[in-house]
Amino acid sequence: MDKPIIQITDANFWYGAKQALFDVNVSIMPHQTTAFIGPSGCGKSTLLRCLNRMNDLILGTRVTGRIAFNDHDVNAPDVDVIELRKQIGMVFQKSNPFPKSVFDNVAYGLRIQGMTDKTELEARVVKSLKKAALWEEVKDRLHESALMMSGGQQQRLCIARAIAVEPEIILMDEPCSALDPTATAKIEELIQDLEKDYTIIIVTHNMQQAARCSDYTAFFYLGRLIEFDATNKIFTNPTNKQTEDYVTGRFG
């Protein structure tokens, strides 16, 4: 039995005086895709951002409890948040490629770690673009601006960029919500592939997407984790009535 790669114990979170997460307990297993679902404002994105401490950027936030990555509390004083983020990558809701070339976008994460060898950089960039199913489309335009691509391509570029630094976990915050169905399908396919090498946690408000892509699903409501189980079970035979109401579309 694998050890959980992320272990969240009694986590509570506040934005200033407003509490957003209440006593959350969840274990994320490695090399699986876990989906966080729930209606708007239920705290799923907040929890996601706690994992790579992106909430640190917002003033007045506070977290209690233990959020452990490989058995080490990410909020411990001896943790270097920069190292943390190199191992837990993130893809955002709105694709945000840098105003640089395709190559430089993917190479950025490697360059800031000190990699300067051209051959090595090239090899890693090609590898990441291939893994992100983008290589065929950009191989002739590596040095053109990344902003010239379509929304779907830009998002896959962001995934390639995140993969390039070879993190253990990839966090995805509603990655397809700004994309059309074709682009969405491409990315969902990609997620299945990436599972082999990475652990994926995806926040989505699209239940069908969660059902298609994930192995485990966590259902959140008003800041609490209502149910966490294998995706199959959540969608066909949920234990909790609220879960059932949500997945059958009675609310949300």
């Binding site: 990555f69 490989n70 080490h72 943790v79 270097d80 190292e83 190199k86 191992q87």
Partner: protein, 308 residues
């Protein structure tokens, strides 16, 4: 792979932070040194007598010097200037926010013109004041009304004020535009829905609501106007006058101009140093006081609009 803090020292991060912090600190230090030096040396000189006294004799004597005529002249200048610049500035800002179509070429040219006005060197304004207001307009007035006799075709308060008005116009326009844009559209729509015309809406609803911002613009302009010297050097300021100006065709004494002349043309710089520092301090105080008044008036009107 560990997420624990790395053993090495990230000197690049520290260096970067240090350099940019140093840049910021240096600027702050410069401001403190300048203002501190002026206050330190000038405070001894600024007495009641200094601020209210004239300079009949003993202009260079620290004990008897006074800057009242300069204060009076400066205030007269900015008052006249404000009368000219505020209406034109507000009207232009009203046009730009309420009437102009932002992509129309005329609008772009007007905005470009305003930006250019803001960038014209102050001495060029001085030349313009001399060439246009004093010579052309003044000369024309003299020809038309006084048969060539010298009445307007000379440096005068009115010409200096007109020059300064054009110079500070961009400041008023920008501040007023900001204030007008801050008025929520809902107010305009409510008024129009009641059947008021656009003009009436602007006059009765939008402008009163934007009043604090308009006043801020006027005060900013005044602050600029009180300190500029180059535009008024040839259009009206004088170093020594026996009387205070009583007519807008008179010349006037001016704090900034006084500082300039004392700094560069006084025969004994050591003797005039205290007077110089005193004058500079008074100039700074007048400028800051004007700005402060603006801030207070704006705050008062804001609270009245909110609770009134």
């Amino acid at each position: 792979m560990t997420i624990l803090r790395a053993k090495g020292y990230d000197w690049r991060s520290t260096a970067f932070h240090a350099v940019t912090l140093a840049a910021t600190a240096l600027i702050v230090l410069a401001v403190i040194v300048i203002i501190g030096d002026i206050v330190w040396h000038g405070a001894k000189q600024v007495s009641w007598h200094f601020v209210t006294g004239g300079t009949k004799e003993g202009m260079f004597d620290a004990k008897t010097a006074g800057v009242f005529p300069m204060i009076f002249g400066t205030l007269a200048l900015v008052l006249l200037m404000t009368v000219g610049v505020v209406p034109v500035g507000v009207i232009t800002a009203v046009y730009l926010t309420e009437y102009a179509k932002s992509l129309s070429p005329i609008t772009r040219i007007i905005r470009s013109a305003i930006n250019n006005l803001a960038g014209v060197p102050s001495i060029v304004f001085g030349l313009f004041g001399l060439g246009f207001f004093v010579q052309f307009v003044g000369g024309g007035l003299d020809q038309m009304f006084y048969g060539g006799e010298l009445h307007y075709r000379k440096p005068a308060l009115i010409w200096a004020a007109a020059t300064m008005a054009i110079m500070t116009l961009p400041v008023v326009i920008v501040a007023t535009e900001e204030a007008l844009r801050a008025v929520p559209n809902g107010l305009r729509e409510a008024s129009l829905a009641l059947g008021a015309t656009k003009l009436k809406t602007i006059w009765k609803i939008v402008l009163p609501e934007a009043l604090p911002g308009v006043l801020t613009g006027a005060i900013l302009a005044v602050g600029r106007g009180a300190g500029e010297v180059a535009p008024i050097m040839f259009t009206g300021a004088a170093y020594y006058l026996a009387h205070l100006p009583t007519n807008w065709t008179d010349q006037f004494m001016h704090l900034g101009y006084h500082v300039f002349v004392l700094s560069t043309q006084s025969p004994d710089i050591e003797r005039t140093k205290p007077i110089l520092y005193g004058s500079v301090l008074v100039l700074l105080l007048v400028t800051f006081l004007l700005n402060l008044t603006g801030v207070l008036v704006r705050a008062k009107i804001r609270s009245r609009l909110r609770h009134g």
